[in-house]
């Protein structure tokens, strides 16, 4: 978890900057840098559509819970804060569950149990505890958006590669010619690990290159 190094002053009118947004999206990307929330990352990234839907659902829960936690941060005593955060997160997960059912039954079918498991995603509780409970509403919202979209981006990177190689399609559209032999292993759980490893390699490679130049 990335410690926030800036002085913490709850309720202060510090100008919010896009820095908090970029931080989550790239420098402290929840998947590629912090390696948080691996359960949905590996399990639901078998197709680009599933990955995107899962990412957006997580992003929504993160945004709403960060906002509510931040606005209630002076109301929640620190002895019961984790319980309070979990109740808030669970509420928004339940809401997301109903919303996805109302949008498309098929989507709900393919995401299955992983929607309810957003509750246990350490990314969300991590941001509530490390950031939202100590910062103003505006900053918490921006932080959640950055982290959320960083998560969506990472999931999409995995999902697109896995669907393309494992099924020859992208968003259900045929990309490769019929003669393409699918790598079934890519849409099986093992493929999730392979793809994640390759992306991590790539990201760390870019980072070290940047650091040395």
């Amino acid at each position: 978890m990335s410690p926030d190094k800036r002085p913490i002053a709850p309720g202060s009118q510090e100008p919010t900057s896009t820095d908090a947004f970029i931080k989550g999206l790239w420098r402290d990307n929840p998947v590629f840098v912090q390696v948080l929330g691996m359960c949905p990352v590996l399990a639901v990234s078998n197709t680009a559509e599933n990955a995107l839907a899962m990412g957006l659902a997580t992003c929504f829960v993160l945004f709403m819970s960060n906002t509510l936690v931040s606005s209630l941060r002076n109301f929640i005593p620190k002895q019961v804060r984790i319980t309070a955060f979990i109740i808030i997160i669970a509420t928004f997960v339940t809401i997301t569950d109903y919303a996805i059912q109302a949008i498309r039954v098929e989507l709900h079918k393919s995401l299955g149990a992983f929607i309810s498991l957003i509750v246990a995603n350490c990314l969300i509780l991590g941001r509530a505890e490390a950031f939202a409970s100590k910062n103003s509403i505006g900053k918490s919202m921006l932080d959640a958006l950055g982290m959320g979209f960083g998560f969506v981006f990472a999931l999409f990177c995995l999902g697109a590669v896995r669907e393309l190689l494992g099924n020859g399609t992208l968003f259900g559209l045929m990309i490769f010619p019929d003669s393409f032999q699918e790598w079934i292993v890519m849409i099986l759980p093992a493929g999730g690990f392979f793809t994640l490893a390759i992306w991590l390699l790539l990201f760390n490679g870019i980072k070290t290159k940047k650091a040395t130049t």
């Binding site: 019961v80 059912q101 039954v105 099986l188």
Partner: protein, 227 residues
Amino acid sequence: MSEPTTIPTTTAPNSFIMLRAMVGIGIICALLIVLTYEGTKPRIQMLRAEALEQAIFEVLPAITQSAAFIYKDGSFAPLGEDSKADKGPVVYAGYDANDQFVGVAIEGSGQGYAGTIKILYGYDPEAQQVTGFYVLESKETPGLGDKIESDEDFLASVAGLDVQLNAAQTGLEHTVVTTKDGEREHPWQVEGISGATITSRAIGDILASSMSHWAPIIYQRQNDFQR
């Protein structure tokens, strides 16, 4: 006696503040959930009904309308809008454009490779054949087990599967069995899928157990469905 060392005490939490916070959050969250539930309920029910309707049209070819029937006291009765109190298995009858009864769509379930598989399949009592099936719910391995929805040989063997009744009309003449990939010889056999052996066998077993129960009943009560 030495002076007792003072234990460093943290400021005792004020239980009223904790109670207020937890109850307050609980009420806000409960309200949010109830509002969402009530708000999405009609749409979710509509989508579910639509999905079922689509599945019925999928498994019974050439139908233009469907109706739900409930099996109670040895006969089938139309399931009305307000008869929710009725308890019993429900089947869906399909009719073509001339109001002619085509067949029945039946729900069946069984143990697959990973959890329960729920399917809807069509039964044509006149031809005594299975007309097709649709997976309502499955947790089968993507890429392997879910081939049951796409493998052409397998699907072709299920559509047109022979479920002839025996002479006494108490059960099937031949039990439905799943063969190995490419070894199907008889019309009452389901062609297995290599790579999805357990899942394709599970579909065969679901059809076998569900048909041996329903085929005699539906065959004898065909007139209940006529319009």
